[in-house]
Amino acid sequence: MTTNDLTQAAAAAKYGRPARQRMGRDDLVMRGTMGLLGLFLLVAIVLPLYAMLSKSFETFTYRFDTIEFQVSGGEGMPWGKTMNALALGTELDVITPESMVTSNGGRFQATEFFPDFSFRAPTLYRMRNVGEGGGGFMVAGGPVYHADWVEMDGNAFRRAQIRPTESHGIDNYLTYVNTPSLFFSVYNSLFIALTTTFIVIILAFFYAYALTRTCMPFKGVFRIIALIPILAPSLLPAISLVYLFGNQGIMKGLLMGESIYGPIGVVIGSAFWTFPHALMILVTALSISDARLYEAAEALRTPKLRTFLTVTLPGAKYGLISATFVIFTLVITDFGVPKVIGGQFNVLATDIYKQVIGQQNFQMGAVVSVVLLLPAVIAFAVDRIVQRKQVALLSARAVPLVPKPHSRIDKAAAVYCGAIGVVIVGVLGMAFWASLIKFWPYNMSLSLANYDFDVMDGGGWEAYGNSIRMALYTAIFGTAIIFSGAYLVEKGRGFGFGRGLIQLLAILPMAVPGMVLGLAYIFFFNHPDNPLNFIYGSMAILVLVTITHFYTVSHLTAATALKQMDPEFEAVSASLKTPFYRTFAKVTVPVCLPAILDVSIYLFVNAMTTVSAVVFLYATDTTLASVAVLNMDDAGDIAPAAAMAMMIVYTSAGIRLLHALMTKGLHRRSQAWRMR
């Protein structure tokens, strides 16, 4: 305890407990809104994750020891001795300790215990529960809970099933670790993520360097080209790769006999779509460098390479670390690329899909999700710490560096960026071209037949319409919720605890991979006791999961814009007896409009392209374009898949263009007061 502490205690003793401000109308409205927002985040992220976590500890085992059989030779004949299912099964060798662990959908045929069973025989069977609560077996489709004998003829006994009962423990995790086919995916995922990260960071670093530190020509063009992959779902590069290097690929020879279906394809595809994400971080990191350091280096006649190693690299250190973790997370949690081009190469994200969609083993899906959550959470935590340090670096008063022309370096930079640009445009162009080819590779004439989605399985044009609607709702409601939330966190008065908690919850979604979130939503919203159960299978749940999935980046964008506003607007407004929400509407929103637009566009484009968050949650009448790409590819309709992926690209690009125009118009209109 410090001395001040003591005097504070003394003051408290003298004057009683600290004063508390009476809540005004503003405070009440703010707290009410904050409560609603907290509730939203609770329902949107905390409870689903909790449901998933507890699901992963849910185990289902056949309790053979609680079931008994008796057999009689026929009508009127006496019943034989009572046989315990566990003892019988072990003796007959039809059950092993491993086969007793199953999932919630697991069923064990009662007839397995009677190898000479024939439903035509007059033999009668009966079963009963001896365990507490019963429910260990099912007859005629329903579980039996009572402890009396249930008598069946052969025909009925044929359908008698032993049913697992639920308990809690780490058995699922043990099973996971002990199942090589599952556990090996951890290595695969790590291998893919590390390799891709390494490649992307190096490629993107030099690209960013060329953009920020050289005077190469066509910088604007290179900048735009590099951002193209953001407009496409991650499925698109995978589809293009199939056309380029697949079994009938036009450049198959380049692989020298290696197959694109597997790690090679996954790495290339992942590198394609994560490239712009790394680039944006690195461009920012390289832009904030201090020109004075370079002047000093030049004055000391430091060789260029040495300057690069001693000034440039350390200066971009935080950007590099941050980009590394971001890319690692993006790759390890991505589902689209490995799904399309991974072939037999399993990674964690595809395992979740297979466990849930293929085997209906939700518990194991939850276990893999938790395993996938770990690296994502670690990477996220490191990134947050590093980001905080970089902010400190930013605020230092640095003189911005203006690159000087240097003909050799500028040329090399242009060639380098040109090469990468060609690859990016090539991959996109391949999908574009493939979507227009009548019947690859037999009939190479152009047609729009692949865009006739209604004649194909996968959802048709309706899926595209759903995507647009979903993206619009996400953009509108998401922006409203996220911006208001950021406002309350940044500008709220008092109630520090509540604001801190909401801040934390707003950052949390970034650490949760889309697949994991989607699966968590199944567990939470599909639970029959959940009063929100009705949104399951509707458009609403798709919008909710998408808003949540992209909450953090949007929140941070909004918070940054709000931080730049004068902190006293709310105080002035209170002194003028004006409710805070009026000032919010009249001042805060108009001033932050550019950021609000950015957030809504970000949400729209991501809602169009996301697969992982929604793949578990769509229903037949809410199929989305990105899901249609996946399903058509799955069904072998790869050209229509390419066409649908291109539809997403056209839409995202159109929206981006619209955004650019709107921002420009906005700036023109508000030029008068945005001068400064």
């Binding site: 809540m23 209170a574 007061w673």
Partner: protein, 365 residues
């Protein structure tokens, strides 16, 4: 503008206000009474708690303990919106996307007045602060001084009983600042609105305030008119902080006598008893050199250690055995320099009028 006021009670009464930020005590038992229509300055070094006190009055920062009454009403626990004040911040916090007139009208628009009436009132206010013909400009299109005026007009629009100004002039350049000082003071006088202004600029406080509250490290050192504060600083801190002040170590020899080096000076020794070590404080302009003869009361010979020419006056550092080797700085006129042939190394006889000597216990301030 005035609410009913019980006879004898001040307009604003701050009693025993204590404010903690965690373990840090920003205001330590602060009490002041402010009369209706007064212009009061909170003056003190950076971090002394001026802004915190102002914000506590506004309800923007809640005091940990203590009571605040305004116009006879206990406002200690009221949220800002339920208190009666207008405020101008250092940043002005003008709404950037609203025109000047809309900024000023902002507080009126909420009152369901007819549109025309709001317009008229806002225009009047802009006129009042000397801004006409700029109604439709945006804040970013105005100079700092003009923005200042808009902020003032906006704060006055709702006719608050109390005007709070937090360093309203510190973001302006020196000439505009001097000009605006005068204008704000006049405006305040005309409207008669009780005003509290926070500043760390003593000149600003001395020229504008009816009364000054000098603060240091969360406590009030002295409250008084500018003249009282300047002439009779209550503590060594105030003496040092306001204006220029010489401090020399001395010892009370007898009641009414203090010994400083070799010389013994007459002065009011107040509560300090014989033999007590004290700090002897003298303002540079109170050291007299004209027409001083050895043998005059409080006269002594000193040696010119250094001269600094300041234009209209001279800053002279005096030392010598009379001062026990300590240095006193005197402000003397330039004419005197010629008359007395002042030069470094020369001797000069000076006198300190007894009533201009203040004593402070050593270890204080």
């Amino acid at each position: 503008m005035t609410t009913e006021n019980q006879a004898g009670n001040p307009y604003l009464r701050i009693s025993n206000v204590i404010k903690y930020f965690g373990d840090f005590c920003a205001l330590n038992d602060v009490s002041i009474d402010i009369e209706e229509g007064e212009f009061v300055c909170f003056l003190g070094p950076s971090g002394c708690g001026k802004t915190t006190l102002l914000r506590a009055i506004a309800g923007l920062e809640l005091q940990t303990h203590g009571r605040i009454e305004q116009a006879g009403r206990d406002i200690s626990n009221l949220p800002p919106a339920e208190r009666d004040f207008g405020i101008v911040f250092q940043s002005y916090a003008l709404f950037p996307n609203l025109s000047i007139i809309r900024n000023v009208a902002y507080g009126l628009e909420n009152r369901k007045l007819p549109k025309a009436e709001i317009e008229t009132r806002a225009r009047e206010l802009l006129e009042l602060v000397g801004l006409t013909g700029q109604d439709d400009k945006y804040p970013a299109q105005l100079s700092g001084g003009q923005q200042q005026r808009v902020a003032l007009a906006r704060a006055l629009a709702t006719s608050p009983g109390l005007l709070l100004l937090d360093e309203p002039l510190s973001a302006l350049d020196a000439r505009v600042r001097v000009h605006l000082r005068h204008e704000i003071k006049q405006l305040q006088h005309r409207l008669g609105v009780t005003t509290i202004m926070v500043t760390h600029d003593q000149e600003e406080a001395l020229t504008m305030a009816d009364r000054i509250v000098v603060m240091n490290e969360g406590v009030i050192e002295q409250v008084g008119t500018p003249m009282e504060i300047y002439r009779h600083p209550a503590t060594a801190f105030v003496a040092d902080f306001i204006g220029k002040m010489n401090f020399a170590d001395g010892r009370v020899s007898n009641a009414g006598k203090v010994k400083l080096g070799d010389v013994e000076l007459s002065c009011d020794t107040g509560p300090h008893g014989a033999g007590q070590a004290v700090q002897v404080a003298v303002r540079p302009e109170d050291i007299v050199a004209r027409d001083v003869k050895a043998g005059d009361e409080n006269a002594f010979a000193a040696n010119v250690a250094d001269l600094e020419f300041l234009g209209s006056s001279l800053r002279v550092d005096l030392t010598g055995p009379a001062l026990g080797g300590q240095t006193l700085t005197a402000d003397l006129s330039v004419n005197l320099m010629r008359e007395l042939d002042l030069e470094p190394g020369h001797d000069v006889t000076v006198r300190i009028p007894a009533e201009r000597i203040a004593l402070y216990a050593t270890g204080e301030g």
